[in-house]
Structure formats: structure tokens, C-alpha cells
């Protein structure tokens, strides 16, 4: 494939040869700092995902100085806006001339950045978005699996919908329910992917014996959920699931309680990721459950600093005065992978070489092993997607009103310890 960038590079190189000063090239390249671009949603509604950015960048700068590596990080804010994410990625590539791009946090950030990098021929490592919205969402025709193509420069590690399905049904199997599930799927990238009747979560739930009631896509920031509550009640749903933004889940949960609808389990992604959002629910947040991608009890250590998950979480709390959250581990791991790639690459400024180096990664990070070896991933995405472990957790209210995330199901990743059993909502 001839990309604009490769064309410019090859013409520039031949121009230099013609100018008979080709010898200067390699020497320059060696002295040049290696530039890494990092795009994340530092402001706007997704800012919670980027909370650990300053902490992680601090650590990274310190480690790079200690290792004597000449690495510069160009940090860009997506402002939680996909268009802006694409713009700043373009800027980082063209004006700042980064050699490697890192991107994290929701398909709204990872997809536009990865698409720009793929087009420009700049290697990109991406995380914190389920792999289906990442891989399928960037295809020209997401509806036609035959047309899907692997990426040359985009590499992603996280979990997928199949892991969420396994974790959710494992948790529900611990309870005695009628196996009727009500689904809250909004009209956004995540909601459409999860709610798709063919490739969403419903077929997976059905395979585990659960029937899904899906009243349809609703608009985010909705003020009224009585239609959904009525539909769930009519179907006698004892479980509620979905991928809901925090304000909407609060509205739904209060309305459900006001209208006397209290399911035995409410297992939702996104809405109750952060302790602050659960605390906002007061007593009604007790025993809400969700998927857990990282916790301070995960049995992993950092390849950069040697810290354990607990050390990293405590370090963050000390640095910022705030409770630990799941994204901390993943932002840290992104820079672990980047460092590993830079160290292993023959020439960290050569895009093709770096892409090959990324593909050959096999690194134990703070979020588990990262290796693009195709394990557990369908063949069409094997080249670009790596999966990290996912378990299930439940928020437990403490005596002082704060919440603690207890891991209640680890059948999907037995090396991550559980802290209790799944409990019914009362």
C-alpha cells in the first residue's frame, strides 16, 4: 500500500541520495529523540479515564531519564470528542513528527486516532476499548465480515464482548434467578455494539440460558426510563444489564426503585466504573456489579518499575489524593509496552520496523501478559488484537459510606483472586 507518508519518505530519501549527502542520514536519526504521541480524553465527559495521565507521565519521564533513553512524549487532549481526537492525532504526526502513537480510553478516542495513524503509516498501540468496537468499528463496512481487513500499524489490547458475556453470566449463575435479563443499550458506539441482535451480547446470553429483553436504543442523557421499566416488568426481568453512562444509570435506578422495580442483580458496564459514580447513588449502590479489568488486587507487576498493582494504586492515591480506579493500570501498561518496543526496535524511528516489533511483543505488564499472538481472538483480528484478563466484581458499601470493589467471580481468569461471593440486591 502506498500511503501519503511513505510516498513523501521515499521521495525525500531518493532526493537526499541525489544530493550526495546520504551519509548524514543515519547519524542524525540516532541522535534524534524518539517521539511518542499520546492522545487521551483529559477533559470532557470521559476525563475520568485519563485521571492517571499526570501520574503515569511523571513516572515515565523519571524512568526514561534513569534508563538513559532519549524519549519525548507529545501529549494531546481529545476533549472527549472523536473529531478532535482525529485532529490532534494528525497534528502529532505532521507537526510534532511522532514515531509511535499511544491512545487510550473508549472507541470514541481509540478509533479516530488509530484510523489516522493507519492512513499515515505511523504505528499505534491502543487500549481501553472492547476490541469489537475497535476492530470492527474501523472497518469500511462493519456489516460485512468478508470485507474486514487487518491493520498494518494499529495494535490493540483489551478484552472483548465474549469476555463480558462470560463474566456476566458466570456472576448471574451464582444467584437463583428466572434467567430473564433486561438490557439498557443507548444509541452510541458501545450501545449499538452491545445491543446488536446478531453480534451483540444477547446471543451469548442465550447460549448460557439467559433471555434478553431489549426495548431498543435510547438517547443518552435521557430524563425518563419508565418505558424501559415497564418493558422489564412485563417480561418479569430479575436481572438488569447494559452499557450506560453514569447520569442515566442514576436516573434509571432511582426511577426503578420509585416504581417498585428491584431486580436481583444489576450488572452494568461504564456507569459504575468509578467509585465516585457509585457513591453518588448513596445506599442504593450496594451490590451493583460490573466487569473488572484491573484492580489493586490483581497479581501482576510492572515491567517498568517493578511495582505491584497495590503499590501502583497506593502511589496514585498518594500522588493525587484520590481513590484508585481501573484505568490507572492500563495507562501504566501502555507506557510499559511502548518502552519495551523502543528497547527492542532496531530503529525506533522506522514505522515498518516498529510495527513489526510491536507485533512480536511478549511482555508481562501490570495488566497481565500483552502479546499479539492471536490467543482467544478470531483469525480475522488475530494480527491486531490481544486480550487481557477480565473478571467480575461487586460494589460493597462500607460503614463510612464509601464503596469497595470486591471481585466475586474469576472463572475467566483463575489467577486473579476473588474477595467474596456474588450477593443479591435487596
Amino acid at each position: 500500500m502506498i500511503t501519503r507518508r511513505r510516498l513523501i519518505q521515499s521521495t525525500a530519501a531518493s532526493g537526499l541520495v541525489l544530493g550526495a549527502s546520504g551519509l548524514a542520514m543515519p547519524a542524525l536519526a540516532q541522535n534524534r529523540a524518539i517521539k511518542i504521541g499520546y492522545v487521551s480524553p483529559q477533559t470532557g465527559p470521559l476525563a475520568g479515564f485519563a485521571e492517571a495521565d499526570a501520574y503515569t507521565l511523571n513516572m515515565f519521564t523519571r524512568r526514561m531519564a534513569e534508563e538513559g533513553l532519549n524519549v519525548e512524549v507529545v501529549v494531546k487532549d481529545s476533549q472527549s470528542n472523536p473529531n478532535r481526537a482525529a485532529d490532534v492525532a494528525q497534528e502529532a504526526i505532521i507537526s510534532d513528527e511522532v514515531h509511535l502513537m499511544l491512545v487510550a480510553s473508549t472507541p470514541e478516542t481509540t478509533n479516530p486516532v488509530a484510523t489516522v495513524c493507519e492512513n499515515e503509516g505511523i504505528p499505534v498501540i491502543s487500549t481501553k476499548a472492547p476490541w469489537q468496537p475497535f476492530f470492527i468499528g474501523q472497518q469500511g463496512n462493519p456489516g460485512n465480515p468478508e470485507s474486514w481487513r487487518p491493520f498494518d500499524f494499529a495494535f490493540h489490547y483489551f478484552w472483548g464482548l465474549e469476555d463480558v458475556i462470560a463474566v456476566f453470566t458466570n456472576m448471574w449463575n451464582q444467584l437463583d434467578t428466572n434467567m430473564q435479563v433486561g438490557g439498557l443499550f443507548p444509541n452510541d458506539a458501545d450501545g449499538n455494539a452491545w445491543g446488536d441482535p446478531e453480534v451483540g451480547v444477547a446471543p451469548g446470553f442465550a447460549a448460557a440460558g439467559y433471555t434478553t429483553v431489549d426495548p431498543g436504543r435510547y438517547q443518552n442523557l435521557s430524563d425518563d426510563f419508565s418505558a424501559q421499566i415497564n418493558a422489564f416488568r412485563q417480561a418479569n426481568a430479575e436481572i438488569v444489564t447494559g452499557v450506560v453512562i453514569p447520569p442515566d444509570f442514576t436516573t434509571f435506578w432511582n426511577q426503578a426503585r420509585q416504581q417498585g422495580f428491584i431486580p436481583k442483580a444489576a450488572t452494568v458496564a461504564k456507569a459504575i466504573l468509578f467509585p465516585q459514580a457509585v457513591e453518588a447513588l448513596g445506599e442504593n449502590g450496594h451490590n451493583l456489579s460490573s466487569e473488572v479489568w484491573w484492580s489493586r488486587n490483581h497479581p501482576f507487576t510492572s515491567s517498568l518499575t517493578g511495582e505491584s498493582a497495590a503499590d501502583l494504586a497506593d502511589g496514585f492515591t498518594e500522588f493525587s489524593g484520590r481513590p484508585w480506579t481501573q484505568p490507572i493500570g492500563f495507562v501504566h501498561s501502555l507506557f510499559e509496552v511502548a518502552t519495551d518496543v523502543i528497547k527492542r526496535a532496531d530503529d525506533p524511528t522506522d514505522p515498518e520496523g516498529v510495527a513489526e516489533t510491536i507485533a512480536a511483543t511478549n511482555l508481562n505488564t501490570i495488566v497481565g501478559r500483552v502479546a499479539w499472538n492471536g490467543e482467544g481472538v478470531p483469525p480475522f483480528a488475530a494480527q491486531n488484537v490481544c486480550k487481557t484478563p477480565l473478571v467480575g466484581g461487586q460494589w460493597r458499601r462500607q460503614d463510612d459510606g464509601s464503596y469497595d470493589l470486591t471481585i466475586v467471580d474469576n472463572q475467566t481468569a483463575p489467577d486473579i483472586p476473588t474477595g467474596g461471593q456474588m450477593e443479591e440486591i435487596s
Binding site: 477533559t43 470532557g44 442523557l221 430524563d223 418505558a227 442515566d248 432511582n254 420509585q258 417498585g260 442504593n284
Partner: protein
């Protein structure tokens, strides 16, 4: 039975929209000022209440009472120092200024309180419900609707029974003649914005108790408020309540048929009203 429930929930939702819209209606009715920062001012009000709740440990209802004079002052100063300077024949400057204000408020709140979801927690009442036989309604939505009615009644009393109300109406109808009668539009406008901010505070309290809020959610609430004002007829406060209820019912009925029609149904109701009554249902004056 389900349809009665849908209707009742829609009417109660309409109360919330009417509360969002009442302040907007008041300001527009008196000084023809379209306040694009209205949604952000509601969010600002929610943060003011939140600060009082966390500083004094008060219940959100009491904290809102404490917040009332603060918000009144903010509104008064805002009108006196900023908005009065841009009011005039041209409607563009106030639009631009309030748009800018919206950006400023959002970013100032973001700076001070980060993008975290916040919430006002009133205690057990938030999930309390009343069984009315045919339907079960939440106490909080019922209180919201009742407050919307009380706010509208109180504003109407103020408008039609007090000297200040006469000044409001006179300035709205003909500022030049009102000035001849010894009314200073600048201070009348400042009072009006102050009072609008009192309504904003009440709306903020219910918004903050109903769902999470963060610095950026203001504008999403603005569109329904605008539609409620326009459906009701510019300057008519009862019209604003009716407009809110129409949008609320249209949304819940639309959602009951198909969830994807929820938001669309509200907008369609708005367009239908505009098609048949371009000046709204209860336009106050011919201007």
C-alpha cells in the same frame, strides 16, 4: 393501565422540563433575551448547592434555601455588569455573550471540580414511592411537578399583583414609555434575572437529586426548555408549564411505542404545535 402509567410519568417529566424552562421564559418574556447559558446556570446552581451541602452538612432542600440569595445576587450582578451592556436592537450580541458565558461556566466548573459525576443526595426520599392504586409514582417526581406549579403560580402572582410585576410588564411592552413613568429598565432587568436565578436554583436542586451532574451536561437540558417555552407561547408562564407537559407526555408515549422515538416524539410534538400555532399556544402579547 400501562398507558395511564405512561401518561402520568409523562406529566411528571413535564414538570421537570417546565421547571428548567420557567427561568428562561421569564427572562425572554421581559427583556427578549435568549439566554444560551441557561442550562449551564442550572448546573452552576447545582454546584452551589453541592458546596453548601458539603460545607454545612445540610439536606439539599435546606441547602437550596441557603443558595437562593447567593444565586439571586449572581443573577443580579450578571445582568447589571454584563448582560445589560449588550441588550439593544440587535439580538446577536446577547446571543454571543450568553454563548460565551456557557463556555466560561463549563470550563470554570471543570477547572474547579473536574469532570467527576456529582450528585445531591436527599436521603431515603429519593427512592420513596406512592401507590395510587392504578399507578405507582415516585415522591421526588411528584414533588418536582408540584414545585413547578408553585413556581408558576408564584411568578404569575408576582407579575400581576405587585408593583414590581407591573414594572416588568411595562418594560416588556414598551421600555421607552416605561422610562417616562420613572422605571429604570436596567434595574428592572437586573431584578428579573435575579428572580430567574431563584427559579434556576430550584430547578438545579431537582436536577441534582434526580441524576448525576457534571460541568458539561447543561446544554443537553437547554433544548427541551426552549421547546417548552416556544410551545407555551413566549412570555406566558402557564404556557411554559403546558409546553413542558406536552413534551414530557410526547416523550413517554413515544418511548412506550418504540424507545427510539422517545426524543423524536418530543421534537415532533414541538413542530406540530409550531405548524398550527406558530406563536405558541398562549402568546401573551402581540409583538
Amino acid at each position: 393501565m400501562m398507558w395511564i402509567d405512561t401518561l402520568v410519568q409523562g406529566v411528571l417529566l413535564g414538570g421537570l422540563y417546565a421547571l428548567f424552562a420557567a427561568g428562561l421564559s421569564l427572562v425572554f418574556g421581559i427583556m427578549r433575551l435568549v439566554n444560551l447559558a441557561h442550562g449551564d446556570l442550572i448546573v452552576l446552581g447545582a454546584y452551589v448547592i453541592l458546596i453548601i451541602v458539603s460545607a454545612l452538612g445540610l439536606n439539599p432542600f435546606l441547602a437550596a434555601l441557603v443558595a437562593l440569595p447567593i444565586m439571586f445576587t449572581i443573577g443580579w450582578v450578571l445582568q447589571r455588569v454584563v448582560l445589560n451592556r449588550v441588550l439593544g436592537e440587535d439580538i446577536l450580541p446577547p446571543l454571543l455573550v450568553t454563548f460565551g458565558l456557557s463556555v466560561v461556566i463549563q470550563n470554570a466548573l471543570m477547572q474547579g471540580y473536574s469532570a467527576d459525576s456529582q450528585r445531591l443526595r436527599p436521603g431515603p426520599i429519593e427512592s420513596a414511592s406512592l401507590d395510587l392504586g392504578v399507578v405507582t409514582v415516585g415522591v421526588m417526581p411528584l414533588l418536582t411537578f408540584a414545585s413547578a406549579v408553585v413556581v408558576i403560580v408564584a411568578l404569575n402572582q408576582l407579575f400581576y399583583r405587585t408593583a414590581l410585576g407591573r414594572a416588568f410588564r411595562a418594560t416588556s411592552d414598551d421600555p421607552v414609555t416605561a422610562q417616562l413613568m420613572g422605571i429604570k429598565p436596567a434595574s428592572v432587568f437586573a431584578m428579573a434575572t435575579g428572580i430567574a436565578m431563584i427559579v434556576v436554583t430550584i430547578a438545579a436542586m431537582y436536577l441534582g437529586m434526580r441524576a448525576n451532574f457534571d460541568p458539561t451536561i447543561g446544554p443537553a437540558r437547554l433544548i427541551y426548555a426552549f421547546e417548552a417555552v416556544i410551545i407555551g407561547g413566549l412570555g406566558s408562564l402557564w404556557g411554559t408549564l403546558v409546553g413542558g407537559v406536552i413534551i414530557g407526555v410526547a416523550q413517554t408515549v413515544g418511548a412506550a411505542i418504540n424507545l427510539e422515538w422517545q426524543i423524536l416524539a418530543g421534537h415532533v410534538a414541538f413542530l406540530v404545535v409550531l405548524a398550527f400555532r406558530p406563536r405558541g399556544l398562549f402568546p401573551r402579547a402581540n409583538d
